[in-house]
């Protein structure tokens, strides 16, 4: 039995895209045979009548009225569809009126959310400082996602924040988790008793997902921006973050993830860390335990930091033996090509390779890098690769040309890649890798990957890992393991 329902909205206007979208939504609902949304002009009423969609209600509509006309297989389905339409149209207001009611200034936003205590700023860098300053003046903590903020502005903002008991996360802070709430690029991880201060986006992500694998959780993960621990900035946000985490009874362990602080800043940072009264783990690339005060445990890799914080050991994901893998390569394949979307992961891999006696060249060189080395680890998220292009974490296809080049290079032994999941990342980053491999020669180098994510992430770690393995990629439990396996393979190749 067909049911025809018309709902007429008098004097109601909706833009074309919204009309089409709503029409498609309603048409796709269960039990709906046909649906249109049109103005009630004479021509359109004739069209609806000819299509068997018009009833006496719709016949009364005029050209300034919006007619929702549908034909369903039952009253129930018709009513549900109309309810859906009403909800989308927000009870008589235009859907776009809700958009019009969205705040367009900080002032109106704060009026709508008077209890907000954080502003996340993602504007072109030249405007970010001004917006951050305005937010601080309104008593808001600030997370600056934007990059291209000058050092002078960063210092000024952080001093302003510090003078007012606030904190600035960033600039160029892409990742944070505050009170279990993920901000910008972050993974879905359990809430727990670990507090993190990170001058590193993907470092924070890698730590949080590895800790999650080990059964731990994050209370807060505060991103301070890559320059905060420099002498120019003096670790203003880091010191503030340490105070906040130390004072939070829900935080039982503190973790610092960073490259080495500036010489003048290091003492203040480590002294404060050592005096929190809580266990502290420092994963500071380039430092050793000997350079840290008592009370701070050194972690050489993010994996080690996670294992210390989680008090557990990460299982190796792949049981492949380095010797067997090296034997599968032809003699001329001796070179490592690392293609990274995460800067810290690129740095960590360099450190792991160096500790195995393999120095590499990189566009983001870690201490000990060798510009002449045939082994190259590239941070494809660095500015020179993302000028006018999307970040490879958002659009993984930007990595494809470099991946193709490495695959076709007869000297490449191992291609090292990271695949980063979570909020903000591409919905299916593994597929880009798989597509590139499928288009290439079966006689190819080894591809070793780590997948930075959890099973709760939108992309689902297990699915991404399985897809990569099915395509012949060796998937390791973490970035450090991937680099370590690479080092072993290349070392075997050269002996």
């Amino acid at each position: 039995m067909s049911v025809i329902v018309n709902e007429v909205r008098k004097g109601f206007y909706l833009d074309s895209v919204a009309l089409m979208r709503l029409s498609a939504e309603i048409s796709a609902l269960a039990g709906i045979d046909d649906a249109v949304l049109m103005i009630g002009s004479p021509s359109n009423r004739q069209i609806m009548a000819d299509a068997g969609l018009l009833n006496p209600d719709g016949e009364q509509a005029g050209p300034n009225d919006l007619v929702i006309a549908l034909r369903a297989d039952s009253d129930g389905n018709a009513n549900r569809a109309i309810a859906h339409a009403r909800k989308s149209l927000q009870g008589g207001s235009l859907k776009s009126s809700a958009e019009a009611a969205l705040p367009r200034t900080l002032s109106s936003a704060q009026t709508q959310l008077p209890d907000a205590n954080l502003a996340l700023i993602s504007t072109p860098g030249s405007h970010a400082a001004r917006e951050a300053r305005a937010a601080l003046q309104r008593g808001l903590n600030v997370m600056i996602f934007s990059d291209n903020v000058s050092i002078a502005d960063e210092l000024s903002l952080k001093q302003q924040a510090d003078n007012n008991g606030l904190i600035v996360m960033g600039p160029d802070c892409g990742t944070a988790i505050i009170g279990g709430v993920a901000l910008a690029f972050a993974n879905v991880v359990a809430r727990g008793n670990t507090g993190v201060v990170a001058a590193s986006g993907t470092g924070l992500q890698e730590f949080s997902v590895l800790l999650a694998k080990l059964g731990g959780g994050i209370q807060h993960a505060i991103g301070v921006g890559g320059r905060d621990l420099s002498d120019d900035i003096g670790a203003i946000s880091t010191l503030k973050a340490i105070d906040l985490l130390a004072a939070d009874p829900a935080v039982e362990t503190l973790v610092l993830i960073s490259k080495p602080p500036g010489k003048a800043t290091a003492d203040r940072v480590f002294e404060k860390l050592a005096n929190t009264g809580k266990p502290v783990i420092a994963c500071v690339f380039g430092l050793s335990q000997a350079e840290l005060p008592n009370g701070i445990r050194h972690a050489g890799t993010i994996k080690a930091a996670a294992e210390m914080a989680g008090n557990a050991t990460l299982n190796a994901a792949d049981k492949a033996t380095p010797q067997a893998l090296a034997d599968s390569l032809s003699a001329e394949r001796t070179v490592i090509s690392g293609l990274y979307t995460g800067g810290t992961l690129c740095t960590e891999a360099q450190r792991v390779l160096r500790s195995a006696g393999i120095n590499v060249a990189s566009n983001a060189p870690a201490p000990g890098a060798d510009a002449q080395s045939p082994h190259q680890l590239i941070d494809l998220g660095a500015d020179e690769y993302t000028m006018g292009k999307p970040h490879p974490m958002i659009e993984p296809s930007v990595r494809e040309p470099a991946l193709q080049q490495a695959l076709t290079n007869p000297q490449t032994a191992v291609i090292l890649i990271d695949v980063v999941l979570g909020y903000g990342a591409h919905p299916d980053p593994a597929q880009s890798v798989i597509n590139t491999l499928a288009a290439g020669n079966p006689d190819r180098p080894l591809v070793i990957a780590s997948v930075c994510g959890t099973d709760a992430d939108p992309q689902d770690l297990a699915t991404q890992s399985r897809k990569l393995r099915d395509a012949g990629v060796i998937v390791c439990a973490c970035n450090a393991d991937a680099a370590a396996l690479t080092a072993q393979i290349v070392t075997h190749q050269s002996t």
Binding site: G11, Y13, L14, D15, S16, V17, A18, L19, M20, S23, V36, L37, M38, I39, S41, P42, S43, N44, Q46, I47, D50, A51, P63, N64, S93, L94, S96, S97, E99, A100, A101, L102, P103, R104, S108, Q112
Partner: protein
């Protein structure tokens, strides 16, 4: 503000009015004089458009009162736009043209139209559009042959036909009218205008009628004028640029307006 259309200014100078529609990227204001459309910067000038950076009020609702005084536009007492030194927009003069040149470019113009093709409308809408287009073409051909008659019912059926804020039939008629004015077919344009004016208020929405009636006076979006002028001047780079602009002219309005224009120019070029 960036620009104020000549007809928008007339509406504003009346001094007061009400908010007619609040849409995602535009706000329509109205009063007894006419309708104007408030748009962000770089949206394309037009006869009823007021474009530029303005302070869009929060919680803007249909029926809110607007005021225009001393070059300041306010809605519900809240200043939103200053029109000091805002240029008044009218279409540029059309280029010189010849039928031969027109014929050369119309091939490229048809290809450009294909680029603008959007999602297909309902089949019934397509039928009415095709019949109306055919009837309009026949009417224009007769007019040029010196045997003018009234446009057929199929032309009338174009008004208000189609989905969207400005129905496809109205967009088609807009393109057709602007093309007629551009090639100085003013008598044909006037006759078509007289016919449309008898029907437009009853057959389409106030918003779409405002655009269509502006076209009756030879004015539409600058993007449409750019497109038509590029065809007339046989200027292929300008045609490509104008095609790109028309892509952002509503959801499908650019396509239907260009189609109406090309159909009119094709008959003129014969």
């Amino acid at each position: 503000m960036e620009s104020c259309g000549a007809l928008a200014l007339q509406s504003l100078q009346h001094g007061t009015g009400e908010v007619l529609a609040v849409l995602a990227s535009s706000v329509y204001l109205a009063n007894p004089v006419g309708v104007l459309c408030l748009l962000p910067a770089a949206s394309g000038a037009g006869p009823i458009n007021l474009t530029g950076h303005y302070q869009r009020p929060t919680a803007l609702v249909v029926g809110a009162q607007w005021q225009f005084s001393q070059q300041l536009l306010s809605i519900d007492q809240q200043a939103i736009a200053n029109l000091q030194q805002t240029p008044v927009w009218q279409p540029a003069a059309h280029p010189n043209w010849t039928p031969a040149r027109l014929r050369q470019t119309l091939i490229d113009a048809s290809a450009a139209l294909a680029e603008l093709q959007c999602d297909a409308p309902l089949p019934a809408v397509t039928r009415i559009l095709d019949r109306g287009a055919l009837a309009l073409g026949e009417w224009l051909a007769q007019h040029r042959a010196g045997t003018p008659g009234d446009p057929a019912d199929a032309v009338t059926a174009l008004i208000g036909c189609g989905d969207g804020l400005t129905p496809a039939g109205d967009d088609y008629l807009t393109g057709f009218l602007i093309a007629l004015h551009s090639v100085d077919q003013h008598r044909a344009g006037q006759q078509l205008t007289a016919h449309l004016q008898n029907h437009v208020i009853q057959r389409t929405s106030r918003i779409s009628a405002a655009h269509l009636l502006a076209a009756c006076r030879g004015m539409a979006s600058e993007y449409l004028h750019n497109f038509i002028y590029a065809v007339m001047a046989n200027n292929r780079p300008a045609l490509q640029s104008a095609t790109d602009q028309l892509r952002s002219y509503g959801h499908s309005s650019g396509y239907y307006a260009a189609r109406g224009a090309i159909d009119a120019l094709t008959i003129i070029a014969e």
